[in-house]
């Protein structure tokens, strides 16, 4: 087993463990904590794929910014206990179960029947593709249009956030 492989197995095991623990926790803050651990493992997995920039962005945005937001929301809604959360679930829970079964079937199909095994080799230029320089070069030439569209997406998000928060204030 190479070094990269052993790192992959450790990270994969920890990320599955943290994902399961996140679901099993009673207190939402504990769940959020396991989610951070999970994000870190995913960041590590990006690193094993030589995607350095993505790895650091993942940690910065998800483990940092999104987590702060989650904790704020937990406090804002005062989700002290899971019981109150469950009252709101109702029919959505059954949909959730149905979707996760579908996802599981899909994953099993990919692992068992498809040609996924043909892609286990990493591209020789992977190390170059993962750098910021390369990413910038491609993002601002080849994928220029999607990049500019992103700004509209962010604009829409800003407006949405303001409207949501303001509505709560009026109530």
């Amino acid at each position: 087993m190479t070094f990269e492989q052993s790192v992959f197995y450790v990270l994969a095991a920890v990320s599955i463990f943290s994902a399961v623990m996140m679901l099993l926790q009673r207190s939402p803050v504990n769940s959020a904590l396991y989610l951070i651990l999970n994000f870190f493992c995913l960041g590590g997995l990006y690193l094993t794929l030589n995607a350095q920039f993505i790895a650091v962005v993942h940690i910065s945005v998800y483990a940092g910014a999104i987590m702060v937001l989650f904790v704020f929301v937990i406090m804002l809604l005062n989700l002290g206990d899971e019981k109150r959360l469950r009252e709101h679930l109702g029919i959505r829970m059954y949909f959730g179960i149905a979707f996760s079964v579908a996802l599981l079937a899909e994953l099993l199909y990919i692992l068992g029947f498809s040609s996924a095994n043909a892609y286990v080799q990493q591209s020789p230029s992977a190390a170059e593709i993962g750098t910021v320089e390369y990413l910038g070069k491609v993002l601002f030439t080849k994928f220029l249009f999607p990049f500019e569209i992103t700004s509209f997406l962010l604009l829409a998000a800003i407006i949405g956030a303001v409207i949501l928060a303001k509505k709560k204030v009026v109530q």
Partner: protein, 347 residues
């Protein structure tokens, strides 16, 4: 002797030594800085501060550590025990791992990754999560208020500070802290605050924007370490100790250590970004790996002292003023500077 050299050249052993080295800096640094801070504060306010323990109270920081070690470790019954213990770890680990990308000299850097300065931004947001955890876990009103305010403040000031760093990245063309320092090698005129290593007319037109970016970074870094005038999270007169009110003994000491380590960290980043990192101000005179470490620490400590000076001179800001400064003053100015720098460099 030969065995030792052989052992040192082993990659694993040298990596472990590299990982331990910043600790050997942080611990004595914290002791010295606590002393300097108390003395400076006292003299600014016309007091004497420590005089009893040792010559002019020089042994006081050691006495403080001994005292903290003998204190009882209290975990309130209302607190969430696991999170309560975990929070200081998160804060300290976040701060300590950022030291990996500080280039102490041309020969020493924990890890010379390409993303250097960007990694720093990413990890500093982890400290916020640690603070929030401590406030939530304590289940104390002061702690929770302190943590919320602290998180809101740090998060708000991260935008202008990231934009200020961006301006420097544009000028130097790299995110690696070591390369950024090499870019400024060659004396005081080559430092990025003076336009770096660019043609003369570009340098001259860059200077005003670099000075503005420097001030923006300085202000937001002060906010990010939660010190006066930005110390609303631990405003003693209204919030007791803020997020670490319930912490005692060594857990409190870890928060304290992380706070001082963070102070050096942001000062060191100012030095790397604008004041030439480990390069000597006299060009090749007094330069080299050992002098490099000397210059780096000296410049860093100068900014630490500046921080202390400002802390004991300025009054505390109100929350609304704090948000005003970050979102309505620093952010638009930083954005304008970035655009102007882009125009100058691209022309």
């Amino acid at each position: 002797m030969e065995n030792i050299l052989q052992l040192l050249s082993n990659p694993i052993v040298s990596a472990v030594l590299m990982a331990l080295a910043p600790l050997l800096f942080i611990l004595p640094y914290a002791l010295v800085t606590i002393y300097i801070e108390m003395k400076m504060a006292a003299h600014i306010q016309n007091r004497l501060a420590y005089m009893q323990t040792g010559w002019h109270g020089t042994l006081q920081p050691f006495a403080d550590i001994l005292k903290l070690l003998q204190k009882e470790d209290i975990i309130p019954t209302a607190a969430s025990k696991f999170l309560f213990i975990l929070a200081p770890y998160l804060v300290f680990v976040g701060t300590y791992s950022s030291f990996a990308v500080l280039p102490f000299s041309s020969a020493f850097i924990g890890s010379n990754i390409d993303l250097g300065i960007f990694f720093l931004i990413a990890v500093s947001s982890l400290v916020v999560v640690g603070l929030l955890m401590s406030g939530w876990a304590s289940n104390n009103k002061w702690s929770l208020f302190g943590a919320l305010r602290s998180a809101a403040q740090i998060v708000s000031y991260e935008i202008p500070s990231a934009l200020a760093i961006l301006g420097v990245v544009m000028v130097s063309g790299t995110m690696s802290t070591q390369e950024m320092t090499h870019f400024q090698d060659g004396g005081i005129g080559q430092w990025i605050i003076f336009g770096g290593n660019l043609p003369l007319w570009q340098k001259l037109s860059l200077i005003p924007f670099m000075i503005i970016l420097f001030l923006i970074y300085l202000v937001s870094s002060m906010a990010e370490v939660n010190r006066t005038p930005f110390d609303i999270p631990e405003a003693e007169s209204e919030l007791v100790q803020g997020y670490n009110t319930e912490y005692s003994g060594m857990k409190f000491a870890i928060f304290y250590l992380a706070e001082y380590a963070n102070l050096f960290l942001v000062s060191a980043v100012v030095v790397i970004l604008f004041f030439g990192g480990w390069t000597s101000p006299f060009g090749t005179f007094l330069s080299g790996p050992v002098w490099g470490a000397f210059w780096f620490v000296t410049k860093g400590m100068l900014f630490v002292c500046l921080n202390i000076w400002l802390r004991w001179t300025l009054p505390r800001l109100r929350v609304d003023q704090l948000m005003y400064v970050s979102w309505k003053v620093l952010t638009p100015f930083a954005l304008l500077c970035v655009l102007a720098i882009g125009l100058i460099v691209v022309m």
